[in-house]
């Protein structure tokens, strides 16, 4: 073993490499981006074997499917994504529980409680539960490494994908970690061409689902016996904690031997251990980062009669948002630490577009062009350009999910909104905008699409985009958009008047127009 300084994300990546993966896939998204970035760096300089194929996919669904293909071929794979990325990959994720995995398949999902850089704070443990798949929830960097290594063994033992659930504060926290000095040799499993398992025709799917439910019993038993789920019975006051929240409990209890504590890190829920704790205690405080997943399971519709369950639902912890050592301290009923009063009257400093950002110029052109139209709506999407919602731009009216703006603009256009416009980045367009545009092109919807082509995935640190520049123009034309109404502009203040004129011309065109506003991200130049 040797010591390395790693982000939580990087420990997962390194463990997957050490577990002998042959491939890793992802789409950039905070706080999961650094997982694939690490594997990519490793693969670039790699001298050992097996060779690791690592790269960005068009979106998380594709990444998942690519990883599943590797698993089918008997090799180990890693697929990583942010929490909302799993919504995109939910289709293959859910059904891969039925097909099962062959070569070890680990799905690393990084949740973002507190929404530091996300549109919601959904909790991925529900997905693991929904799919009836096992999940591991490390509390620290060392566990993230160790559990990821173990997850590959579990995946092959059960023939199922295994989820590793991270949260921002682990994904983006660095520590010294003890790691292997070499890579394991993954078992040579060979291809598994069993169409009865992998072809989910109803007759096969029914059998596979029954099989999954049978396996699930075994998973529950394994979780109850897992060394990662530790139960320590003491006093009549109980605590159930999981993941990073367990750190905040330990930080505050600091060796206090009084309370009975169940730490959960291995799902499905260890029901036996939970029952044992509840039976032993008058009161159980549930401390978990994310939704009240454990707490809900404990309370159900009818809460235990003789034990009070405290947590997010009872108001002992906030119903939403990220936990902190101070919030957990309060929930534990400990004295508040002495601290200076917070200074609350300070001017806020929200994120903003960089000096010289091409999106800023694009928005100046678009906002100016839309001025004469009282009913104009500019839907938008997810990326740096979402900051166009803030002053001084106040340009965009929506940001829902990757690619949403194109479908929303078409919907609005169908019910008479004009101009119905949307602004979407080049990478977001490839991720989930193309599908919406095919439908809009097919019906020549009366709408105007702005593709803000900055040639990179900027928000997450300038990862490679799959279609930009001329390639993007050909792609848009290939989707069926009339070439006469595909316009490319360069967003610069010196071209303001000309660009505004082009935009107005396309808005007045009764049909679909795509305006590609093309200028490279200034961060690419700095790189």
């Amino acid at each position: 073993m040797k010591s390395e300084v790693l982000l939580g994300d990087e420990t997962v990546a390194l463990a997957a490499i050490h577990a002998g993966i042959s491939a890793a896939f992802s789409y950039p998204g905070t706080p999961a981006t650094e997982i694939l970035e690490f594997v990519e760096r490793y693969a670039r300089n790699q001298k050992d074997s097996p060779k690791v194929a690592a790269g960005w996919s068009a979106n998380e669904k594709v990444a998942y499917e690519e990883a599943l293909g590797v698993s089918y071929a008997g090799k180990r794979a890693l697929v990583s994504m942010k929490h909302v990325g799993l919504n995109v990959a939910a289709d293959p994720f859910m059904s891969s529980a039925l097909t099962g995995a062959h070569g070890g398949l680990v799905v690393a999902v990084a949740d973002d409680p507190g929404m530091h850089s996300s549109q919601n704070e959904q909790d991925s443990r529900y997905y693991a539960h929904f799919a009836r798949l096992p999940a591991l929830e490390p509390a620290n960097q060392q566990e993230a490494y160790d559990m990821t290594l173990a997850a590959y063994e579990d995946s092959e033992r059960y023939g199922l994908p295994v989820m590793i659930r991270l949260v921002t504060r682990l994904a983006h926290s660095r520590a010294n970690v003890q790691v292997r000095t070499d890579r394991k040799k993954a078992p040579g499993l060979g291809v598994e061409p069993d169409p009865r398992k992998w072809t989910l025709l109803p007759m096969n799917a029914r059998r596979q689902f029954t099989g999954l439910l049978e396996k699930y019993e075994g998973l529950c038993k394994a979780a109850d016996e897992s060394p990662y789920n530790t139960l320590k019975l003491g006093g009549r006051r109980g605590i159930i904690c999981s993941g990073i929240a367990a750190n905040y409990v330990q930080e505050n209890l600091d060796g206090d031997g009084e309370a009975s504590v169940l730490r959960i890190a291995h799902y499905p829920l260890p029901k036996g251990k939970m029952r044992e704790l509840v039976a032993h205690c008058d009161e159980v405080l549930v401390v978990e980062e994310g939704y009240p997943f454990i707490e809900d399971a404990l309370c159900g519709v009818v809460a235990p009669a003789d034990t009070r369950i405290l947590g997010r639902r009872s108001g002992h912890l906030p119903a939403s948002g990220e936990l902190s050592p101070d919030l957990v301290r309060q929930a534990l009923g400990l004295d508040k630490r002495e601290a200076p009063e917070p200074i609350t009257d300070l001017a806020g400093r929200p994120p903003q577009m960089c000096q010289g950002c091409p999106h800023a110029d694009s928005y100046h052109h678009i906002v100016e062009a839309l001025k004469p139209y009282r009913e104009a709506i500019l839907f938008s999407d997810i990326g740096c350009y979402t900051l166009g919602a803030l002053p001084p731009y106040n340009a965009i009216k929506s940001c829902v999910d990757m690619g949403a703006s194109i479908g929303m603009a078409r919907g609005a256009s169908l019910v008479g909104i004009h101009p119905s416009c949307c602004a979407i980045g080049d990478s977001t367009f490839v991720h989930s905008g193309m599908t919406g545009l095919i439908g809009a092109a097919d019906t020549d919807a009366n709408m105007t699409v702005f593709i803000l082509d900055n040639a990179t995935v900027a928000m997450t640190g300038t990862q490679e985009t799959l279609a930009s520049g001329d390639e993007l123009v050909r792609l848009v034309a290939g989707l069926g958009v009339n070439p006469d109404h595909i316009k490319v502009i360069e967003p610069l203040s010196k071209y303001h008047e000309g660009n505004v004129r082009i935009i107005r011309g396309e808005i007045d065109h009764r049909g679909l127009s795509v305006i590609i506003s093309k200028r490279a991200c200034i961060r690419l130049k700095k790189k």
Partner: protein
């Protein structure tokens, strides 16, 4: 050494580089550390904060608790105040006095600095002047690292080692300017505190340091800031300069 540190500033100022140097300096001493940061949207010119904890023992929480930070190190004065609640009773607030004016409602600067100066254990540094003196206007974070790192008990040699690794791909001129910035920051911190202890106001203390010519600052920093000792401590002493409540 056992310490909790809050590192603050504005996206793009180099907070994560500062954190990198402190983490690796701790690691080199065989200490444990945890350093939490936030990536993504927050890095786009917004308020950025990193929590750093160093200890010979197991560290549980990745986040510092309120009232537990021994050092609040900030590259921007308004951002320093934002995290005042984290400061421990004997903790130090070490901040640049140079504002980043990327918001419309930035308060009057004197008022901001006055609020910093209300904290007894504070140090204000004019990083614009000091980093230019060291030879790189972009080394404000290294000026702060020199001042803050020594307050934590690291020697200039320890910090310099990390700065050299961090900038290993850059030209020798850039590396030298950043190393000089460490020493200049450490010297300016000492001089500022001396002036305060003589009964001067924060503004007078800042002025006094700012009146030393750049060349003179660098010369004195080379002479008066030893490589192998932390702030007021002989080399090799592992006990913390900044004590923690634990």
């Amino acid at each position: 050494m056992k310490a909790n540190v809050i590192l603050a500033g504005v996206g793009g100022q180099g907070i994560l580089s500062t954190a990198y140097c402190l983490c690796n300096a701790a690691l080199k001493r065989g200490l444990n550390f945890k350093q939490a940061e936030v990536h993504g949207m927050a890095q786009r010119g917004g308020a950025v904060v990193s929590h750093l904890r160093i200890s010979p023992d197991t560290i549980y929480s990745d986040l510092v608790s309120y009232g537990e930070a021994d050092l609040l190190l900030s590259i921007e004065p308004l951002e320093c105040l934002r995290y005042a609640q984290y400061l421990s009773a004997g903790g130090s607030m070490v901040t640049s006095c140079a504002p980043v004016l990327n918001i419309g409602d930035y308060p009057e600067l004197d008022g901001v600095l006055k609020r910093v100066a209300e904290f007894r254990e504070h140090i204000l540094l004019d990083t614009t002047y000091l980093s230019a003196a060291a030879g790189s206007g972009r080394a404000a974070n290294m000026v702060m690292l020199g001042a803050g790192g020594r307050a934590l008990g690291f020697s200039i040699a320890e910090l310099e080692g990390q700065v050299r690794t961090l900038f290993s791909g850059k030209s020798e001129r850039v590396v030298e300017a950043n190393c000089k910035a460490l020493r200049v920051g450490a010297l300016a911190a000492r001089l500022y505190r001396e002036r305060l202890e003589q009964g001067r106001s924060y503004a007078a203390a800042l002025r006094a340091v700012g009146e030393i010519a750049p060349a003179e600052l660098v010369r004195r920093a080379e002479q008066e800031i030893p490589s192998d000792a932390a702030d007021g401590q002989p080399a090799g002493d592992r006990s913390p300069t900044v004590s923690t409540g634990g």
